[in-house]
Symmetry: C3
């Protein structure tokens, strides 16, 4: 069985937005109990991340480290903006889709982790989809 | 339903080859309309990346940034060659498989993105496979 | 068809543990021949990596490069420990789940690669699951 649901929203500038509730709603609506959940952002300066649900500090560290490892700067060939050029690299490095295990109606990682939509550029209209495949 | 198709080719040295057409052909041949597409390179110095289809500059930036973040150099323990040793790290960092959503017969990301096979070493014979699972 | 199997163990400190045998056992037990295998660690300072099976040097290089790119240090906001804070970043960078292709009863990558469970913190009790979806 396959179930796909798309969500849209306007993200912030270089922001991380928690989307665990949206993912869980898609899982619930699918009626699927066991299988695989793929969450994908179809943009090139965004990402989908699975991160500890232990607090704001970890999230802030990740954003800061992303900026340290891939700084927004003027010497990219792509000249839309330093943030946009860096965002393309961050998207490749941190990934723009994740595959998760669905077990007995719940995300396998739900006790320790949340799912985040990272917008490395923005703010602009963004979308992501949740695809559930299983029984 | 499951459909798997393998492609082989000889890549360039530290190159990025667009494989969107091959992925789309596998999807078409599968007859599957909705589900998940996994694209995987079974090598250790290659990668599969989902990248903006907005032009050559972004692609060149990614290759350059990969080299900046993981330089080919002589102080790796693995001594096959600096490029090969760095390629193993790049493959782990940027990933050698991706999971994408297939919706109504098309890649969910097709409007903004292309799929690339990155060869961090080469040139040598390389393969990758496209697996489509769904209805 | 869907098959899920969980494994638990106590990992080492900042260690890489080969789990290819566990993955292959789950595949065998599933009876599934073709499809997708998702391997996921539900923790935030661990990762799942697909790495060359060509020897210990590559593995040691990867661990060393992870520490170079994301050093354990005291200026993270998350203050549990430098290793733990760095581990959260490594987990996001290198990923904590992978999607692999299963073809004719075998991992598509089995000739050249092994699957590893990376523990960036530890030692503590850890788990991971293997989910096989296909025919």
């Amino acid at each position: 069985m396959v179930f796909i649901k798309e969500y849209s929203f306007v993200g912030g500038k270089d922001s991380m937005q928690k989307i665990t509730n949206e993912v869980n709603k898609a899982i619930f609506d699918s009626g699927i109990e066991n299988g695989i959940v793929v969450i994908e952002a179809p943009h090139s300066t965004t990402g989908i991340l699975k991160v500890a649900s232990c607090g704001e500090e970890v999230l802030a560290d990740i954003v800061k480290e992303m900026r340290r490892i891939v700084p927004a700067r003027i010497n990219y060939l792509h000249q839309e903006s330093p943030e946009n050029a860096a965002g393309h690299i961050k998207s490749s490095l941190f990934g723009s889709s994740v595959s998760l295990i669905l077990r007995e109606g719940k995300l396998y990682c739900e006790e320790e982790q949340d799912i985040y939509f990272a917008d490395y550029d923005g703010p602009r209209k963004r979308v992501f989809s949740v695809c559930v495949v299983g029984d």
